[in-house]
Amino acid sequence: MSCEPWQCAEIAATKKANPIQKPEIAVAMMQKAARPIIIAGSNLTERFMEGRPAIDFIIELAKASKIPVVATAHMVGEFVKRGYHPAAFMNAMAIGQRVVDPTWMGLDGKGHPDLVIMVGMPYYMQALILSGLKHFAPTLKTMTLDNMYHVHASWSFPNASLEVWATNLKVMTTTFGGN
């Protein structure tokens, strides 16, 4: 499991993500956060594990963790047709812009998120948004759930196979008490 950026040229970072060595550690950090959100991108219907699209795994995790989901791109319809209603849907840059605004009171108007968990966008795009959050929301923690190491996050899983990715997401879901 490598901790080099998945897209090899994306190395221009002096502050690099801490690798998440076990899914239980990710769960612990998510549980520790007071106001986490998951931002879910368009690749979730294009990447498959164990014959199922990644979005199915994320829905199970979101249900188990009760962490609100922001669907980017056109993903809201994909969530809804699977019986899951995300807390919000908006453009990926638009949610990034809100998160770097310290006065933004979150999806429910009750407070700014303290942990942003990203998954499933085109790699380079997610990398750049994470860079924006790293630089302009310095007190915020960020995490990625992909099987691709994201250098600009606070915490990222290392590069890993689809099998490992599936296992990680399932372990996280069961740790949260889901199936």
């Binding site: 991108g41 980017t72 791109a73 809201v76 319809g77 453009n91 966008m121 750049l128 948004i129 924006g132």
Partner: protein, 782 residues
Amino acid sequence: MTTKNVHIKIDEMKTNNGLVKNLELSIGKVINENYNEPMGPTPMPSVTALRDWDLKLLNKYKAFYMPDCDSCCLCTFGKCDLTAGRRGACGLNIEAQSSRIVTIACSIGAACHSAHSRHLVHHLIEKYGRRYPLDVGGLNIKVEAPITRLVTGIKPETLGDLDDVLAYVEEQITQVLAAAHTGQEANSTDFSSKSLHVGMCDHIGMEVGDIAQISAFNYPKADPEAPLVKLGIGSVDRTKPVIMCIGHNVVPSIGIIDYAKEQKVDDSIEVVGLCCTAHDITRYYTRARIVGPISWELRFIRAGLADIVVLDEQCVRTDVADEAAKVGSPVIAASEKNCVGFKNRTNDSTDAIVDDLVSGRVAGVLILNPDKVGEVAVRVAMKVAPIRKHKNVLPTVDEVVAFAKTCTLCNQCQRNCPQDYAIPAAMKAAATGDISKLTELYEVCIGCGRCEQVCPQKIVIHSLIIKAGEKAMYSEDNLCRSGRGAVSDVEIRSVGGPIVLGEIPGIIAMVGCSNYPKGGKDVYDIAREFASRRYIVVVSGCSAMAAGSYRNSDGQTLYEEFPGGFEAGGVLNVGSCVANSHIAGAAIKVANIFAKRNLRGNYEEIADYIHNRLGAVGLAWGAYSQKAAAIAAGFWRLGVPVVVGPHGSKYRHALMGRKDNPENWNVIDARTGETVNGGPAPEHLFSVMETKEECIVQMSKLVIRPNDTWKGRAGKLSHYIDLHKRYMGVMPDDIHLFIRTPADIPITMKDEIQKILTERNWKETTIPDPTLLPRMVRKMKE
């Protein structure tokens, strides 16, 4: 307009008053005031003259920066780590540094277009003289250079007049670029303002280039029925010698066409173009072929189709000479900007150059005389073709399988692919004899070749992909409408009202490059979606090629299916990169011709009009270049929203409004002077879309403007809601923000929307006469 450098010399003149001998009179400039439109407040604006306008836009659409790099390495104090609030040795922070990089990129882009235009103007003046008249549309166009008139206050009438215009542009680009030096501009928003300034200059530079070449080369002149020309590798007659012209500056290609015609061999050869040169050669010579965008360079050369390669400038792969050498194709570099390391043979005899290239004694030459390029290219192609016999470097299918068997599935190809394509999976299948996954990659591959650069097994992956897609490649035989140039004044008069009042739902301008996340088909799909809904769809450059590369169920390309006029449901190809100026020009002309706003040196008022009233949005789905950045910045300053595909995130920032902040959307009602809420219209100035589906929906929303009539707003909302439901799968969550009065509600959706309005505690507002400029208020509030 103005005439420069008048010199009068009188040796002897007898008058009633006496004898004058040896009189010499020199005048720097004669002002010819036959342009009687009153001058506005900002002719030839300096870097800061329009800063207040910029700040209005940049406060409304705040930048969200996404640094591509944590450090700055532009000076020897560095590298400086600017992470999360740290400042560099010069004091700059990451926000300003990110904005600075955008300014530099826009300056490069503007310099590129303007230097191209400078070369064209120099060349054409040398050939036709300074007094050669400009004519971009005969009697159908009185406003021949709307951007130039708007910004500089100059009404150019001859090629010589364009000199002054370019001098202004060149100075401004230099001033802006200077501001990016270490220890100059300190503020991110001011860098953004400078980006807008240089973007505006870029539009002038493009306009100068295109009106010069339209006039001198007699391209189609605002012609909705400009000829349909052949597009695609399959359209090339491979039995003839093939001359492949790559780049954006048509001058050497015209040398080729003229020579071939003079020698009456034009029917015996194929002249084909890649990138914008392709558009411009077909505007000059309809028998030329458009091969495709920059992405097609490697596939065309490796397939052995080029008997000689002629390079001009911009978007030319810098390894073309190496690639051409592998297939025995000689190369002519024909631009000072791209000498490729070749010996300058401009002053050598043509016979000697031809002999050297045909014999293979030299792989390429630099020739800076377009007429000589023409003669050499034609003669060499005709002699080399029977020798080369389409020598290519594509493997056989058996070799593809053999190569694939050596793949170790290390994933380096995928990890270096800009699109993150699953190349290892395709290689794994190919190793079993199934090349279908490689064929699928051909359809979406952007042809950069990065996969090959990192393969530890030295597998020529891109050649494998080309071979697997060979059948598809040779079936690419489509049609593109030749670049028509400007939009005529007559067309503006016809549709200006319906556009501004919202009855034509909007103008969708699809421009720019081919860094598509999933192939060019997305461009076709987007264009067809909007044309079918009777938006006006304007295309240019590589997007115009992608739009023409697919067919509907009746076998028609977009250009056959839809009319070429600036009208509801029209699909117009304006032409090459520099022809993008006509898109901005059309917007400006709506304000000038339809709304009768003064144009001359009146930038703020016109931009304010466009921003608040004209439902136009630009899309660069595959934008990759600095030129695309400059084009976008020029549109931002006009207040026209621009959308880019996911790779556009690498432009390091977005300029976005916040629909959750009502105060973001205050406008002044010019009738009363009152501040009113105009709604999030347009919501963003520069936004990045992740998928085609999201893009279509967003663009249908971004054409909404504060002054839409209720009928126009209802029509726009009808499209927005319908597209949202279709592509996003749900009702929009912001519909209440766009309904001002019950009459805005689309009639067929009344019950559904009324329920939402009740839930949202919606309140009726007025439709303003919107402006961001206090001076436009007709009656100030008491």
